[in-house]
Amino acid sequence: MGQHESNTKLIWKVFGFLSLVTIIEVILGIIKPHSLHYTNVLGTSILNWIFIILTIVKAAGIMWYFMHLNHERKNFVNSIIIPLIILIPYLVTLLLIEGTYVHNALAPFINWKY
């Protein structure tokens, strides 16, 4: 191990960045801008896509700086990241398409008029 230089400054910078992203998410979540909320792109609103992208940015920040992936060897980083970015979007895409299908098949049979 030996002596390492201190990364304290970088840590606080990353904390500032993660807080900023969270604050942006919360503000958007509270005001829900009309032009973003009432839209539909690829199955959900643009607002939701913004939330998802910001979340992935936050997750990458945590993994890269807090979990020190930036200090690991490239093949080790790939062995962790590649399974995640292949398997998770694959599973999610299939399940959400299937969920939409099940909804379209079942919803017409639910009675709302009494």
Binding site: Q3, I11, R73, V102
Partner: protein, 326 residues
Amino acid sequence: MSTTTADQNTNIWEGGATKPLGASYGKMMMWFFILSDALTFAGFLAAYGFTRYKFIDIWPIADEVFTHFPFLHSPEGFPMYYVALMTFILIFSSVTMVLAVDAGHQMKKNKVILYMFLTIIGGFVFVGSQAWEWKNFINGEFGAVQLQDGKIIQFVNKEGKQIALEDFATPDNAQIEHTRENGLWFEKGETTYAYTTTGIIEAFKHNPNVGIRLEKINPETKQKIVVLNKAEALKLLEKSTRVVRGANLEVNEYGSSQFADFFFFITGFHGFHVCSGIVLNIIIFINVLLGTYERRGHYEMVEKVGLYWHFVDLVWVFVFTFFYLV
């Protein structure tokens, strides 16, 4: 040749002599555990996504469910604020953890002790906040009735704002809940509520300012459909079979029972991870106090539990997005 074998044997817990991935055995295995755990959580959240799309037109709106904030009261509620606070608590405890790891690299024992201690405190505060959130969710706020076919009907005033049962109905249930105090032999009874469906329907008939709200979402406004027409509302209400207050695994006043099931399961599983993270942190904290890593010459164990702790934060970032924002 024999020296090579001996060398490999002494290095076996460090990943062997060659270290193809450049990481120690323990750290590598922690990472692969995290990888598998991340896939587990991804599976849960994907299942949540499936169910939400399946019931996309009746799913509860998170902003109307999680509206509490400690010591503050308002009819509008405070959606987002509390969960944002919880997110900050967890991110902050992640920061103190990474500061502990950083101090460990420089062999500053006292700083490691301080930051590990703050991390453990942050973990306890987070679990406590989670418990408070659960308490509010379980107790409920407004109350609702459930129809024969399982639909949940909520009550609103003339403006379409949700109101509680006590705002218009009178408690008229004579039945007392079976508890340890009032029974000769304690057997767990069904939860009883102060209100009955017949009492609620009567009150609804006589109060002109009360309307109902369906679970169904109007796709244009993305709000729940409000029915202020008395005759139309009564047709639905006459099918009601029971009063619902709060949430449990079987039924909840906010709508689809699957919503509460997923909420309890996923946030519960995450809370369980936080708890085990606290336990691991305490074990390592004690070892730091005893000087174990000072003698070992490096603080890599702090780094390993740090990885786990950051992972818990990482999962929360996704839970926060998919339960509260999206």
